[in-house]
Amino acid sequence: MTGAALAPPAASVRLRLLAVVLALGLAMAAVAGQLLRLGVSGGASGRVASLETVVRTFARPDIVDRRGRILATDVAANSLYADPAVVLDRDEVAEKLSRVLPGLEATELRALLADRNRRFVWIRRGLSPREAQRVHDLGLPGLSFRREPKRVYPVGALVGHIVGQVNPDNRGIAGLERHIDETAGLEAVSGASPPLSGPIRLALDLGAQHAVADELRLAMQRYSATGASAVVMDARTGEIVAAASLPQIDPNVAGAHLDPARPDRLQSGVYELGSILKALTVAMSLEDGLATLDKTYDVTKPLTFGRHQIRDLHPPGRPLTVRDIFLQSSNVGAAMLGLEAGTSRQLVFFARMGLLEPIRTELGPVAPPLLPERWDGIETATISYGHGLALAPLQFAAAAAILVNGGRRVAPTYLRRDGEPGQGEVVLKPETSAAIRELMRLNVTMAHGTGRRAEVAGYRVGGKTGTAEMPGVGGYREKSVISSFVGAFPMDEPRYLVLVSLFEPQSGEGTSGGITAGLNAAPVTGAIVTRIAPVLGILPRGIPVAP
């Protein structure tokens, strides 16, 4: 027994071992043979399927408004590509394709297909189902589709400036789309798969946005203006519930955001905004205890700085109280308030209101404020009534929100903000804010207030008008103005701040030849509030019941 265990294996066992080794060797030879057959025959094996590509696209989260209505979403679309090595007759392909896909150049296509070493060329991405079917029905070899996510914007131009655009690979290149790329991150996909992350929820209310854009469109027609912009911001949180800049861009059209004739005026341009800055000047005087609403200033004579004179359009002919300076929008009065405070105090105050530092929103950096080269004497005087300091409307709107919301700073945001409002730093006394609210409301309710055309029954609108001449070559152009209205409603406890600007309005119906803000921007604001206040859930008060 013991001896047997130490003996080498029997011949029959060795034979069986050899058989196993032989079988294994045969199997290996088979695999090796097939390997060589595939490898040596090379690309000419005739079973060459179309080559997939390394190109990949990105699945993006949806963008929805504050009520969840879709502003941007991915749909699966067919993208057409060709494998030049498999295309049989490139003239036929070029000709037939350019017939079913309008806008496709047959000569360019022929050049693309000429390089037989390439195994993958895009022909057109994001075909509609009907186009894809037509291409499919041609039955041409060498053409294939890839399913890709394609970004679509169902409401189109209405939110064009805000959502921005994507490139053909579905990467964000402008607006919120770019913000999503930079913050949330995307998922690289090959094929059309839904994104894993939830939607990006905006503060925007689509209903309010539509009303604002529609009123601006009407105003541009009525006053033959070259542009118009408006922003409606939650005065307590900085949430932007509507923001439109006309002319708008259609995000569904590639490259639309690059059109220089269609800038987002709210955030990418700076303008001297004129008398609406007087609200800031008055607030500064009240805040620093330099004046009360009833303190009087002698505004009867123009102010002279060397060869420059500051004068009022209609000199009042009597000393005015601070209240009247605001209500009658006296340039001389505002300049006197500014000069009384002095340059350094003005600088400190403007900085506190966030007007001297560049800010940014989710759409990117806001155009930085354009400060005067020298800020002294005359600049202090002119800036007091809104000339000499150019601001992006959105940045001014954020400062105006402080004036009416009780004195807290807000950061403008396009995204829906969760949590309690009123967390911002307090930069203004509540009493100052209350005084400005009172002045704004008075400006609308008074029989001769410049803002009286902004009044909307029941919604307690208040605000300040401003008509600023636009700078031209060698000075200001009298007939080219930006007329603005900064307002808030309901004025007893302001919830929304509205800033409307019309660019180069001409006289139109109901303006009796004038182009000042009280005649155009104020009524537009009134029309906007009439339409958005119910949408935003503001309850009207004191409307007489119809009999």
Binding site: A5, L6, P8, A27, V31, L35, L38, G39, G42, R47
Partner: protein, 387 residues
């Protein structure tokens, strides 16, 4: 450090008895696996939204652990190998039963269990243990008649295969059945019984064809490529053509961006496309050398158990590699089987390393004295005593 024959420590003992050529071949395979994972896995990782080197890092980690496991296992002697295998097999069987009853289902199969966030396949670690135990049972069956070793070998094999079938993992079942049949043949059982395994195998395969939709689909598509979506197989076979003899160059391949399993089941196609058919043949040659070396080592081996276990373990590695390669080049229908040491996958790599470690342990040179069988234990009326 110089080791001398006078040194009787475990390390010196190991160094002078281990089959260093076999060891070199196995280490070479592990190294190739690391290199190839750098080429193949980043594309897959990116597609899955992971960091590019997610799979490569894991592969390196498991290769390191694998080398340690392999070296540790190679220091054991045959008796210890048997004991370790028995424990591993019983553990694997218990886990397989648990999975079959209550395990999580992934991609239509119950194969994995989750431990601390890592998935792991008990069947992988059970395979080498099964081969060792089967070898022992077959060896005992040939040597003595007082224990039902042969029925036990059939029973254990059937149980393990059955648990694989219910997962269902038909590919692994075929592998285990093939190794079982080879061991049966080599154990010196009468040839007519050995030949009976052929009709049994065909019958089981026919049963799988009838019982499992995916098996039927794969075999149908294999026989008639036009009958269904054969995309993965065709694409894999095509990549060898794309690569040609010398390959397109490391990182230049495209198949890895297309096939979801480019880093596991279809890694051979990635090698073919990027490094060429010559590299593929070289890799095959390493596997072939492992098998050849193992068989040569046991040519004079008098111990039935050791001979069977060495051939069985080598077959386990090499047959799995061959099946994987056969699928990749389009000779076999698709089945989920990894290329040992090369494919990504923790369980697979650890199991391969364990198999290799046992192989090394059993092929170590041993003095004739240790081969003398111990006296057998026989039951008597007054208890168990040595005869």
């Amino acid at each position: 450090m110089m080791l001398t024959r006078a040194d009787r420590s475990v390390l010196a003992d190991w160094w002078f008895t281990v089959d260093r050529q076999l060891l070199s071949a196995l280490l070479l395979l592990i190294a190739v696996g690391c290199i190839v994972s750098l080429a193949a896995s980043p594309a897959v990782a990116v597609k899955k939204g992971l960091s590019p080197f997610h799979f490569a890092e894991r592969h390196f980690l498991f290769a390191l652990v694998g080398v340690v496991v392999m070296l540790a296992a190679s220091t054991l002697d045959p008796r210890q190998i048997r004991r370790v295998s028995l424990i591993l097999l019983l553990g694997a069987l218990a886990l397989l039963v648990w999975i079959a009853l209550a395990g999580p289902e992934i991609k239509g199969a119950r194969r994995w269990i989750y431990v601390a966030g890592h998935s792991f396949q008990p069947s992988e670690l059970g395979k080498p243990a099964l081969v060792v135990i089967l070898s022992w049972l077959f060896a005992e069956a040939a040597r003595r008649t007082d224990v039902p070793a042969l029925p036990l070998a059939i029973g254990v094999g059937a149980l393990f295969a059955g648990l694989l079938v219910v997962q269902p993992d038909v590919g692994q079942t075929m592998l285990v059945a093939s190794v079982w049949a080879a061991l049966f043949l080599l154990s010196g059982q009468p040839l007519r019984y050995a030949l009976m395994t052929v009709p049994v195998g065909v019958g089981v395969l026919a049963g799988a064809y009838i019982a499992f939709d995916h098996v039927r689909g794969r075999i149908n598509r294999f026989i008639d490529p036009s009958s269904g979506d054969n995309y993965q197989i065709e694409r894999a076979a095509q990549s060898f053509a794309e690569g040609g003899l010398m390959g397109r160059g490391p990182g230049e391949g495209t198949i890895k961006t297309v096939l979801p399993d480019a880093h596991t089941d279809f890694i051979f196609a990635v090698i073919g496309e990027e490094f060429g058919v010559v590299a593929c043949l070289a890799l095959m040659a390493i596997y072939g050398y492992v098998a050849w070396r193992a068989c040569r080592q046991v040519w004079h081996e008098p111990d039935d158990f050791v001979r069977l276990a060495v051939v069985g373990l080598a077959l386990l590695l090499v047959l799995q590699a061959l099946i994987n390669m056969g699928v990749n080049v389009g000779l076999l229908p698709a089945k989920g089987m990894t290329l040992p040491f090369i494919s990504a996958g923790g369980s697979s790599n650890l199991a391969s390393s364990l198999t290799a470690g046992m192989l090394l342990a059993l092929t170590r040179r041993r003095p004739a004295l240790s081969r003398i069988p111990r006296p057998q234990l026989r039951p008597t009326t007054d208890g168990i005593v040595a005869r």
